[in-house]
Symmetry: C2
Subunit: 383 residues, 2 copies
Amino acid sequence: MAEQLARGSGIRKTWEECARMKAQFGEDAVCDFTLGNPIAPPPPGWSSALREAVAEDAPGAHRYMDNAGHGEVRRRVASYVQADSGIAVPASNVLMSCGAAGGLNVVLKALLDPGDEVITLAPFFPEYPFYVDNHGGRLCVVETGDDFQPDPQRLAAAITSRTKVVLVNSPNNPTGAVYPAAAVGAIAEVLAEAEARLGHPIYLVADDIYRRIVYDGATVPWALALYPNTIIVNSFSKDLNVAGERIGYVVVSPRAEQAQAILDACAMTTRILGFVNAPSLAQRVVSRCLEASTEMAEYRANRDVLCEAFARAGFRVQKPQGAFYLFPKCPGSHELACCADLRGRGIFVVPGSAFGRAGHFRVAYSVPHQTCLRAAAILSRLA
Amino acid sequence: MAEQLARGSGIRKTWEECARMKAQFGEDAVCDFTLGNPIAPPPPGWSSALREAVAEDAPGAHRYMDNAGHGEVRRRVASYVQADSGIAVPASNVLMSCGAAGGLNVVLKALLDPGDEVITLAPFFPEYPFYVDNHGGRLCVVETGDDFQPDPQRLAAAITSRTKVVLVNSPNNPTGAVYPAAAVGAIAEVLAEAEARLGHPIYLVADDIYRRIVYDGATVPWALALYPNTIIVNSFSKDLNVAGERIGYVVVSPRAEQAQAILDACAMTTRILGFVNAPSLAQRVVSRCLEASTEMAEYRANRDVLCEAFARAGFRVQKPQGAFYLFPKCPGSHELACCADLRGRGIFVVPGSAFGRAGHFRVAYSVPHQTCLRAAAILSRLA
C-alpha cells in the first residue's frame, strides 16, 4: 500500500500545494481547478425528499435490507432507467451502490478472475487502475484520437482471450468528450465480433456518472440499447451534488449473458467488500427525486469562459460537450513545465499523465464562476 | 466469485427456507433465529440528532470531505473513545468508516501484503474469511476453549513470520463470550513476545461492534489500553440499530508502530475500495448521539428465556455476557441432523460450521420476545 500511496501522489501534491497557497495568501490568490468536487448545494428536490424521508420515519427504515437495496427504491430506479433508455429493466436487475466508485468495485470483483483483462480508453479517470488492481485484474489502456473519441480499430487490436471487461466513461473525466450513439455502436460491433471469435462474453461497463451533465443539447446514448452484455454504473454525486452521501446504482442488462449470476455475484461482493448495502436513508431520498438535477447554467458559463481563455492563450482545447472538465494540450513544452508555469501564475491544474495522457492537463471547472473569470484575466496576459 | 457464492450458502439456505415457511404458514409458524438484524427502532437520541442534522443543512454538508471523514466528527469520536478508554486519542487517529464491515476491509487492505497471515479465534464471524481473502491475506484459525475464551498457548503456536494481524471480536459473534482484561492482556503478552522475536509488528485488530451490548455488569476492556499495536474497528449498527446506514469508525492507536503510515494507507484504501468516505449525513448524525444506546432489557430477557429453555432441553449452553447470540452444543448427534430436527419443530438456527466450529449452532436472539417464548414452549416439549 505504501507503493500505491507513492504512485497516487501527483494530484495530491498539486492539491496540497494549492491548499498551502490558499492558507497563506487567501482563497482569491489562486484559481483551484484541481478537484472535481461540485460546490453548488443539492437541488431543492433533494432537500425536500430528505425532509420527507426523515419525517416518514418508516418502521425498519434504518435496518439492513437485501444487499442489493430496498425493493421499492430498486423498482423506482428501474422505472426511471426504463423510461429514459427505452429498454425494459426489471427491478431485480438494479443494485443500489455506494456511489459509482462503490458500484465499479462491486462489478469488477464480481466479474474478474485473477489475470483477467480490463480495457479502458485513455485519457481515463485515475482511480480505474486501482479498482482493477484491487480485484486481481490487469488494466489494458487503449488510446482515443486527438478528439478523445474511441478508435474501434485500436480497441479491436487490444482484445485478447483474457479480455473480460471494456470500461468506458462518457461524458468523460478528464476530457468532457461525449461518445455519440455511432461511437458506442462501433464499440458494440467490435465487442460482438470478438465475443463470437473468442466464445466468451466481454462486458461493456459504462460509467455513466456524468450522463446528465451535458451541454448544447448533447445526448448520451444508453449502452443498454446498443449492446446486450452491458452493465451500467451510475451515481447521484454529480447530478444532485451529494458526492459525500455515497449513493448510486448498478444496472445489469436483462439481455446480458449470465445476468442473474452477475446480479447474485454483485449482491455478494457488495456484502463481502464491506459495503453490505448502499446507505439506507440516501437510497430512500434519491428514489424520491430521480428527476431532480443540478443547475447547468453556471457550468456552461464556466466552460465557455475557460475554453475561450485557454484557446486565446495558445492552448489547443477541445470544447467539451459534457462533465465539468477541460483537457487542453500543452503548447510544445513538457506538461510538468507547462503546469508549473500556470501554477506560478496562480492557476492550479492536474498534469495529464495522471489520466494516462501526457502533454495535456485537466481543468476541473466545478468552481465559482468568479474563479474562471480571474483565470481568464491571467490567461489573457499570457496571450 | 461463483465458487465463493457456493461456499457462502449455508446461512443463506437456512434463511431462505425460513422465509419460505413464513410466506407459506405465516410469521408465527416459525421461530427465526437466523440473522443478527436488530429489530428495535433506533433510540430517541438518533432520531433527534437526525432531525437536527437535516434542519441545520450546513453548507457543503453533502459534499466530499477528507477520505477519513468530517474533522469535527472525528474530533467528537476521538473525545468519546479517549474518555471511555482512558487513552489519549487525537482526532487524526480516527477514520470514519462504512460500518465495521467497511472498516475491517479498509484496515486489512491497508495492512496486508500478499500472503500475509491473519489469525482469528474460532468460532468467528463468517465474513472474516472473505475480508481476508479480498486483500490477498491467508486466514489462520486458532481454537478457543469450551468456554469460548482465548487460549494464549494455542495463539502463540500459530504465529509465524508471516503473521501480520490478529483479529479478535469481543463480545463475540457467534458465542456472546466477552474477553476480560486478563484475557486480552494474555493475548498482548503473546504478541509482544512474538514481535520481539520476529522483529516486526503484529497488529491486534479489535472488532468492537458489540462493545456496548453487555449483560450482568460485564465490561469490555479497551485493547488500546493493553497493547500498543492496536487498531479498533467499531460500528453504530448494533448500538443504535442503524445497520442499514453503514456508519462506524476505525481508531489506530497513537502508540502503534507506523501509526501515521497506517492512517494514510487507510484513507487511501477507503478511497480506492470505493467507499471514498463514510456517508456524510450519517457521520454528522452519530457525532451528535455518541452516548445514545439501544435498550438492553429485551435482549437480556430473550437471553434468559432461551438459555434456560435450551439447557432444560438437554443442550449444553454457555450463558453469554454480551452480543445477542447463543451458541449451544448439539447433544451427541451431528450438527446438521440437530439443526434439521429443530427446523422440523419450527426453530431456525444456523449450523456452527459456518462459524468455524461444528457440533454447535447459533441462535440470534435480536428478535421479538414473543418468538423466544414460542421457542421455549417448543423446547419444553422436546425436554
